[in-house]
Symmetry: C2
Subunit: 404 residues, 2 copies
């Protein structure tokens, strides 16, 4: 199944409900009585506060006024070097620091990519459902969405091929994917499908944007070669971030852009958008990630903690949920996906749930068409195991109450 939809023009007709769903939910969650599975927040109690304090000192003592001055749009050279050294070591690639552009979080990377590619009415290709933040970034540039069927192993290559065939002679501008532990579903794109999708993309001359915020939040340590490592043609732009493995408040992420023409346009777009990402935050991150093995140990802690929280959520779902509720079991990331009977609107369920002091993100927002409403995104990274169990019990009550 593949269809297209004209997005709303950003500056004109803002759909208020769609716009601020996540933002409004973040506000509700400030009530401590409420157990939130809604946000995409890392566990703050794991933040390496002391190590970042020390990194902040070193950022100034080692780099001095460079950490406070204007910097190049591409980013701090040593941090760009660290990005590719780490990626190359993990995946046998040979990217160089010049391939990297540092961005203000991965959200900015989405905005910049959309800005250089999308003219109003252009078609872009996405999973269905896909990441809401990506839709928000893209919508501002008024694309049409070509949505591709997605199952428990991610985007279905045959559906992609069929949809692109049917689109001819229209040439979509790019394919957007979150291959590892996708937001919202937690689904991981099967490795063999990665190769098939890359081959299709190459045949159709379709640039690929690989959004990978969760790849290192990998509980089972299954090998997950990024698409950019499987693509000899330079067709893939890869986006990584420090938000999930260090701290989102630094707002430092990165793009690896093998294609020099795309890279030049991204740099030019970024120059007009914010000149450059904060030098200070970049040097603080640099000093943290190059401080011995503390990053690796920290990622181990995150994976162990989130893995136990996922297990607690799965156990509570088994123990409390009525029979008609289904869910998946992701091997990493921060979310799992729960589906009710197709007739149920989880947007309406949310009202009932918030009366029970538990919230989630209704699935509708993640579909470009807003044409399915039976899903729920449940975050398991931000609450303790005990609160997760209590929250799922409350949610099960809400579901039962909602149906009767």
């Amino acid at each position: 199944m593949a269809t297209v939809l004209s997005a709303h023009r950003f500056a004109g007709r803002i759909s208020r409900m769609q716009a601020s769903e996540i933002r409004e939910l973040l506000k509700v969650t400030q009530n401590p009585e409420v157990i939130s599975f809604a946000g995409g927040l890392p566990a703050p109690e794991l933040f390496p506060v002391e190590a970042i304090r020390l990194a902040g000192e070193r950022a100034l003592s080692r780099h001095g006024t460079r950490a406070l001055q204007y910097s190049t749009t591409e980013g701090v050279p040593e941090l760009r070097e660290w990005v590719v050294t780490r990626l190359n070591a993990a995946h046998g690639t040979s990217f160089v620091a010049d391939d990297v552009v540092i961005t203000g979080g991965s959200q900015q990377a989405l905005d910049l990519y959309a800005k250089i590619f999308i003219d109003p009415g252009d078609t872009i290709v996405v999973d269905n459902p896909t990441y809401l933040g990506a839709l928000q970034a893209f919508d501002a540039y008024e694309p049409r969405y070509l949505t591709i069927e997605t199952d428990e192993h991610g985007m279905v290559p045959e559906s992609l091929e069929h949809a692109l065939d049917q689109e001819r002679p229209t040439q979509p501008k790019f394919l957007y994917l979150v291959p590892n532990f996708q937001n919202p579903t937690g689904v991981t794109l099967a490795v063999e499908r990665r190769r098939e999708i890359l081959a299709i993309a190459e045949r159709f001359n379709l640039p690929v944007y690989e959004d990978d915020p969760y790849g290192e939040v990998n509980f089972e340590r299954t090998p997950l070669p990024p698409l950019v490592s499987l693509d000899p043609g330079g067709n893939v732009t890869y986006a990584g971030t420090a938000s999930k493995i260090v701290a989102p408040g630094l707002r430092v992420a990165w793009m690896v852009i093998p294609d020099p023409e795309i890279r030049e346009k991204i740099v030019f777009a970024k120059q007009g958008t914010d000149l450059h990402t904060g030098s200070y935050a970049q040097y603080v991150l640099l000093e943290y990630v190059t401080g011995g093995d503390q990053l690796e140990r920290h990622i181990e802690t995150i994976c162990a903690t989130y893995g136990k929280r996922r297990d607690a959520m799965l156990a509570a779902l088994r123990d409390f949920m009525p029979d008609h509720v289904r869910w998946n079991s992701p091997d990493g990331g921060m979310f799992l996906w729960t589906a009710l009977d197709p007739g149920i609107d989880t947007g309406k369920l949310l009202l009932e749930a918030s009366r029970e002091n538990v919230v989630f993100v209704p699935g509708r927002a993640f579909y470009p068409y807003k044409d399915r409403a039976d899903g729920m995104r449940l975050n398991f990274s931000n609450a303790s195991e005990a609160r997760i169990r209590t929250g799922i019990e409350r949610l099960a009550h809400a579901i039962t109450a909602f149906r009767t």
Copy 2:
């Protein structure tokens, strides 16, 4: 004189020369032999490195994991409060923290404002010449520029009125101004003109964007009421920044947006662009600016130092420049404007000057039409008085050599 021009579509036809002029110049200036009047860099030797180190410690010890977690799109509440408390105290206004949106430098504020206002072909109104970074932000959204005559007291109200009259029935989307110590010219908009321009803008229903990075870099302490303080109608959006009074590497700036509809759209646009400005950088700035009187003392140091450097540049211009060269004498900011005979192209002069190891920004880039080439923007904040004198002497040689 008023004319209109269709801008280049950002994603398509990037004019390489226009695009990267400043960026390329920043690279040249990394050669220590070169004396640069080109950048817009604050003096790094004045950066309050130790005070920021301490502010970094307090950001984490006082605010803990909040300084590292995702935050609201609008910004850290205490910092928004500080912005309006300071503005209200200086100018007798009564803005509230809810009017403020924290942005990633003032460049992001320009991008967001353009994003919500400009559809391709829309007209916007600017000084001629005007700030290059603003043109770069706006160009991405494909406006037409209505350029207004500017003299030694800033935009000429009669010219604005005449141009808006002639534009009817076209309704320009907004008026962009840098009223204090403008970049590139150093010119300050006369206070009586501020009132006249506000009255015209109100009559033509024209929103005003007041870009004020330099207002506090005021050597003579002349009172400079911002337009937003003279405007009872809520028609003005005001943009300030920490870049010139603390450090640009933090990348923290702010918009004061009295109009709730504009503010809501800016917040929505920012959510899609980068979710929020770095929490850590915001708390570090908060702790610095609320740390006793260190900010006020620091601003005094900046003004005293830059004032002496301006004086050194003025003395050297008098001592070395050939007769046909004219310049102005700004009371603040970081730039002055130098004009040669109308027939001279300072873009070509730059080649000669760089051979003499001195660089500047040729004036052409600051004109939306690129139809004047005889000006030079000279920065006086970034070099010592001795280097300023040597640099102006070299520049005078280059001008003489260029003409013969």
